[in-house]
Amino acid sequence: MTDAKTKIDETVKANDIVLYMKGTKEMPQCGFSSRVAGVMNYMGLDYTDVNVLADEEIRQGIKEYSDWPTIPQLYIKGEFVGGCDIITEMTLSGELDQLLDDNGLAYNKEAADKIREANA
């Protein structure tokens, strides 16, 4: 593995929830990253954000690490979960809640329900 991929591997294994994104969770710099971070912030998730715009090697490395061409990318307990479309679909279907429950990760269930009500 390259240095960048080793670093990514360590990060996603050392932290329960990691979002590789453009910008930060406080200040996203791309609509797709913004949508995912917005949902995660609203659901009260405790997660680590990695700004790929701050490190070109990570920006390329993350695409190779997951064999996935786009950013954002969400990892839970070291497993790649998906990008913006998949996270959005899983939030609306309740699959994301289930995944968090299965991994014993805390989130605001009421907030998740509100997102679903607003998009029903």
């Binding site: 453009k22 791309c30 609509g31 797709f32 064999d67 786009t70 998906g82 479309d85 998949i86 899983m90």
Partner: protein, 85 residues
């Protein structure tokens, strides 16, 4: 061939869709980050195919990435996918 037509052709050839709609959303993102001025930066694809039967969401997206080819996928800024059987 426009990128929309290219995407449409490659996905039609590889995935035998029952429904396919490739939409160029680039004009909605004009002037945003990622707008390269080509008018071919942002695309949305809605595709229904029996090939997705029994596949996870990630697997379905990977099938589309593969069918499009790395060069086409990386040449556009944003690709939004709505995939189902």
């Amino acid at each position: 061939m426009s990128k929309s037509a290219e995407i449409h052709k490659r996905l039609s050839d590889a995935l035998a869709p029952t429904t396919i709609d490739v939409r160029n959303d680039s004009s909605r993102h004009s002037g945003h980050s990622g707008d390269d001025g080509s008018g071919e930066s942002h695309f949305h694809v809605m595709l229904r195919s029996p090939a997705f039967e029994g596949k996870t969401r990630i697997a379905r997206h990977r099938m589309v990435h593969q069918a499009m080819g790395a060069e086409l996928v990386t040449s556009i800024h944003a690709l939004s996918l709505d995939l189902d059987v």
